[in-house]
């Protein structure tokens, strides 16, 4: 019984579409969002994260690269202070109810931080 349940669970896992934060798969087109930093950059988890609020009051979850890569792009905790205006260029989460950006580039003032290289044309 336990065995058949486990086998069913594995079959269910294998049939799931590959979604998620490791690829660019679950995203839906590149956009730019300009907003004010509400939660400063954190480099402590599997990915860098921060939150910005746009002019319409929407709070965006900004997901960056893994911490070492985000750090190498020049972004440190505190590089962009809370309250600063930034423009984030990236891919929008495919779920229209989830305001999340997978970040390619962060622009603060005149400085660009390229977290992932821009796409080749």
């Amino acid at each position: 019984m336990r065995l058949s349940l486990t086998v069913a669970a594995i079959a269910a896992l294998l049939s799931l579409p590959a979604l998620g934060h490791h690829g660019w798969g679950g995203n839906d087109g590149e956009i730019e969002v300009t907003g004010v930093v509400e939660t400063g950059l954190s480099l402590s988890g599997p990915h860098g994260t921060m939150q910005i609020r746009d002019g319409e009051g929407t709070l965006w979850q900004v997901t960056l690269a893994p911490a070492p890569r985000t750090h190498r792009a020049g972004l440190r905790e505190g590089t962009v202070p809370v309250g600063a205006e930034v423009t984030v260029h990236g891919e929008r989460n495919a779920d229209p109810d989830v305001y999340e950006l997978k970040t390619r580039r962060v622009t603060h003032g005149d400085t660009h931080y390229d977290v992932y290289p821009p796409p080749r044309r």
């Binding site: 336990r2 065995l3 486990t6 086998v7 669970a9 594995i10 896992l13 799931l16 590959a18 979604l19 998620g20 934060h21 490791h22 954190s42 480099l43 402590s44 988890g45 599997p46 893994p66 911490a67 070492p68 985000t70 750090h71």
Partner: protein, 166 residues
């Protein structure tokens, strides 16, 4: 139930351990991840060898000879994987609320441990481990134990790998 899980995740994230790892530099999570995968490699590699032997592979190698390296390696790998994995969870525990793979994985680990306890009490296992020739029916019991164990740990590793993709 959901509230109690959330409260537990909040407590984990607020723990001194979580605080320490978050302040330990940009590579800290990567190092933990490395320890976790090494622990899994030890655990699953050892489990795979032992369970395939129980299922009937390499019959010319006596079971005690395979059990001697694989059982302690699996135990050490398990401890490394649990220590590194729970530390990884404390970094951003509330971010995993509602993650079905995590919610499936943790009870499955419990099922795996119960299975270990059951196998260690099986007459067929104790008899074979003492170096005796198998009695009639022992082979089927041990094969069943091997198949059950392999299925459980395969499910645990699969769920673990998928947590980040949810």
């Amino acid at each position: 139930m959901a509230d109690r899980i959330y409260a537990l995740l909040v407590w984990l994230e607020a723990s001194a351990l979580g605080e320490a790892v978050r302040g330990a530099g940009v590579w800290a999570y990567g190092w933990l991840n490395l320890a976790h995968i090494l622990g899994i490699a030890m655990l699953f590699g050892a489990v795979l060898l032992l369970d395939l032997r129980l299922l009937g592979a390499w019959r010319s190698i006596p079971l005690p000879l395979i059990a001697r390296p694989t059982v302690p390696l699996a135990a050490v790998g398990f401890v490394i994987a649990v220590a590194s994995g729970s530390t990884m969870l404390t970094v951003n525990a509330t971010g995993y609320e509602g993650n079905p793979f995590l919610y499936a994985k943790l009870p499955l680990i419990g099922v795996g441990l119960v299975n270990v306890a059951i196998v260690q009490r099986l007459g067929a296992w104790r008899w074979a481990l003492a170096g005796h020739a198998p009695r009639p029916g022992d082979g089927a019991v041990l094969a069943g134990a091997g198949a059950t164990s392999l299925a459980i740990w395969l499910a645990v590793v699969s769920c673990g790998r998928m947590i980040g993709y949810w």
